[in-house]
């Protein structure tokens, strides 16, 4: 019995050790091969057919490659305007991404919907870094952004798809500092995601290691190996095609158009003295008991505003890459908001930063009723026809005169 047992034990042990050895040797072999592959640079080219429309709106990048490609081709077309904005991108016929191509023959595409704020724009531009030179970019800032805690997690997922993260990670010409910011964002919002993808995890680990050991650069090479998603290729490249150029036709008389738009608006908002579209007034401002709702804003401390920091970060990137960028600072309706002077300081800071960086800008914000142009906003915060025409005039003067 005892010898039988010994025999069986030996049998099991040899089989186990042999398989263990086999696996170790196999893994060793595979890894040594992988190492070799790594040294050969591999470029993954992403491509979709006909990715270069000259107008339209891309609300986010959840449609996969085709929507990502829209951004990349828009950035790479130097005659085309790339507009980044948020909730003002509705279907107003005077919206720049509709008006400029339709009326003036200038290609323009809008990107974003509500919550598309500074940080996601920052990531999108990083992902499209190689196309930024000489791109015509207009960024629509809303004062309301600065009241939030920065880009939210859902918006991050919608506007920074996996390809973008992978592309940013792999692009060695992007300095680690920029990548660390993404890691910082993910680390700060970690509990707001149900789980982190390997790519997000990598950025987070990179950031945390930098905080603790100040050795992100060293760690990166290690992380490349630890996160197998990145092993698929060393570089991602979007294959973009330039579309046909559109010549602009006429020089419009913006003054006249704006006066007309204001007259129409005054008629359409005749039921109130807040200069808010009548339908909007009835639905959102007028209370059931007949009272008129007013709004107020919270003062923003720019030292502690996450959004303001994101804005500075975006500005730094734009300066760094010498992007041909301009800004539109949108206003709020001072008849509805009673204490707009509270956020005037942060708007002034934004304007100062833009001046310092020498980016053209259009400031539509005012806290004084006297300076407010009725009709520039359709309601309490979204651009109206007059406002869009002013924006279009600004874009025209900035890029096409």
């Amino acid at each position: 019995m005892n010898s039988l047992l010994k025999h069986k034990l030996a049998f099991e042990l040899t089989a186990f050790l042999a398989s263990l050895g086999f696996i170790v040797i196999a893994l060793f072999f595979i890894f040594s091969r992988l190492e070799k592959d790594q040294s050969e640079k591999q470029i993954i080219t992403l491509h979709v057919n006909n990715p270069s429309p000259d107008r339209g709106l891309v609300p986010n990048y959840t449609n996969g490659l085709s929507s990502e490609m829209m951004l990349m081709s828009s950035l790479s077309r130097k005659d085309q305007l790339t507009l980044f904005g948020s909730s003002e991108f509705s279907s107003n016929t005077n919206s720049s991404y509709i008006y400029l191509p339709e009326k003036l023959g200038i290609p323009a595409m809008g990107f974003g919907h509500a919550f598309h704020q500074n940080f996601s724009i920052y990531c999108e531009l990083l992902a499209g870094k190689e196309y930024l030179k000489d791109s015509k970019i207009v960024i629509f800032l809303s004062p309301g952004w600065f009241e939030t805690e920065g880009t939210n997690s859902e918006a991050f997922l919608e506007f920074v798809p996996p390809h973008f993260l992978e592309k940013i990670w792999m692009d060695e010409s992007i300095s680690t500092d920029y990548k660390l910011e993404i890691g910082r964002f993910i680390a700060r919002n970690a509990e707001k995601f149900s789980n982190l993808t390997l790519r997000m995890q990598a950025f987070k680990t990179l950031y945390e290691s930098e905080c603790e050991f100040n050795q992100a650069a060293k760690l990166r090479t290690k992380l490349d190996k630890n996160y197998p998603v990145f092993n698929k290729g060393n570089k991602i490249k979007y294959s973009v095609e330039g579309g046909a150029k559109i010549q602009h036709r006429t020089f419009p008389n913006f003054r006249k158009l704006q006066t007309e738009a204001q007259t129409i608006f005054l008629n359409a908002s005749a039921n109130n003295t807040l200069y808010v579209d009548s339908l909007y007034f009835n639905e959102f401002v007028l209370q059931p008991n007949g009272a008129i709702k007013t709004g107020s804003v919270k003062p923003i401390d720019k030292e502690n505003s996450a959004e303001y920091k994101d804005f500075l970060l975006l500005l730094k990137l734009l300066k760094d890459k010498e992007v041909n960028c301009s800004f539109v600072i949108q206003g709020l309706n001072p008849y509805y908001y009673t204490n707009l002077e509270e956020i005037n300081p942060i708007v002034r800071s934004i304007v100062n930063e833009l001046k310092k960086s020498e980016f053209p800008y259009l400031n539509m914000f005012t806290y004084r009723k006297a300076d407010y142009q009725p009709g520039s906003l359709n309601d309490i915060m979204h651009l109206g026809d007059l406002g869009w025409l002013q924006v279009n005039e600004f874009i025209y003067n900035t890029y096409l005169r």
């Binding site: 019995m1 039988l4 047992l5 069986k8 099991e12």
Partner: protein, 375 residues
């Protein structure tokens, strides 16, 4: 589980004179139930109910008819199955009753009690409570089998310490390895890498691929679990009967049920099919073949109901019944006419291969119905 095994071996070495195997097993089971099972007192209550019924039946019930004892013993299980399909919307006192019957392992305990009653009914003497407790709530097989026999199990328990030999332990080790491989590697891989990623576009291709994947998944998961149960039984000296034996190589439904969930197949044969068919034969209802087929069909329909009162379980059970009926009819005709009525003079090996292929697909379809994917 590992701790329990170590405990058994320690007691075997140092304390086998102090504490008998069956007491030790009861204590370990009890501790396990109290610590790990969600409703230990419900479980003990159920065992007391079953034991009381058994005692009462043995003492006062003289009839040969087994329908009454079966129903009596199965009562808690019937409640449980019934409550799982009705929903309680109105607010009355019995709103919370269903919970009482949702006890881990209730079906298998009831099955064991019925088997025990029938096996032992002609034998005199009292059934020891400790033996019954050990048999009904043997932890490794509590959840999903295999089903053991009282006589066999109690014999193993009686010789508990002597059974804990290195040979049986080695057998247990082999079963453990295969169980781990089946349940935690193969079934897990099929589930995580294939099954959950099939995209339901409503097409036939999707349903076909789901059918085969689910069959494989179910087999590896279930067979793996059975093997683990057998392995843990082996480690503490119990020869738990095998449950699965290459079921996809079965050539006909009869063989299939000897290879797939064998312990349930045997149980249904011994305690349901046999008395039912005997009853039919005694009454001389219809022709012989008709009696055989009705008994077969009813047995499998019962199996469907046992899985649950949901429609997909019942239909799938009946489908297995239909398979058995078809095969039995074919088999009967072959014997009667002394030739193969379907395959004729085809090469024996080819008949075998064709049968295996047909049987595999028939099973896949029935299990697909069972999965509840279709309705």
């Amino acid at each position: 589980m590992g701790m329990a095994i170590v405990l058994f071996h320690l007691v075997k070495r140092f304390g086998s004179q102090l504490i008998s195997y069956r007491i030790l097993l009861s204590i370990v089971t009890l501790v396990f139930a109290l610590v790990y099972l969600p409703k230990p007192f419900h479980l003990i209550g159920l065992i007391l109910y079953l034991y009381a019924c058994l005692g009462g039946l043995r003492k006062w019930y003289e009839g040969q008819n087994i329908i009454f004892p079966m129903l009596l013993l199965a009562l808690p299980m019937l409640f449980m199955k019934y409550f799982s399909i009705v929903s309680f919307t109105d607010d009355n006192w019995w709103k919370n009753t269903p919970g009482i019957f949702q006890i881990t392992g209730i079906s298998y305990m009831v099955f064991r009690a019925i088997g025990l009653y029938i096996d032992e009914r002609s034998k005199p003497g009292k059934i020891n409570f400790i033996d019954f407790f050990n048999f009904a709530s043997f932890v490794p097989t509590l959840l999903i089998g295999p089903l053991d026999r009282f006589h066999r199990f109690t014999n193993d328990v009686k010789n508990g310490y002597q059974n804990m030999t290195s040979a049986l332990t080695y057998q247990g080790w082999n079963n453990l390895l295969m169980g781990l491989l089946y349940k935690f590697i193969l079934a897990e891989a099929i589930h995580r890498l294939v099954l959950v990623h099939l995209i339901d576009d409503g097409s036939l291709v999707y349903h076909m691929s789901y059918m085969y994947t689910y069959l494989l998944y179910l087999y590896f998961d279930f067979a793996g679990y059975s093997l683990l149960a057998i392995a843990f039984g082996n480690f503490i000296g119990i020869h738990v009967p095998i449950n699965f034996d290459k079921p996809f190589l079965a050539v006909n439904p009869k063989e299939f049920w000897k290879k797939w969930h064998k312990s349930l197949g045997d149980w249904l044969n011994d305690y349901f099919f046999k008395p039912l068919f005997m009853h039919f034969t005694k009454k001389k209802w219809g022709t012989s073949i008709r009696r055989q087929n009705s008994a077969l069909f009813l047995t499998f329909a019962l199996m469907g109901f046992w899985n649950g009162f949901e429609l997909h379980y019942i239909i799938s059970g009946m489908l297995f019944g239909v398979y058995s009926v078809i095969h039995n009819y074919y088999f009967y005709q072959c014997k009667k006419q002394k030739r193969d009525v379907v395959f004729g003079k085809l090469n024996e090996r080819w008949i075998r291969i064709i049968s295996i292929v047909i049987m595999f697909h028939a099973v896949a379809f029935a299990i697909y119905i069972f999965s509840g994917k279709l309705f």
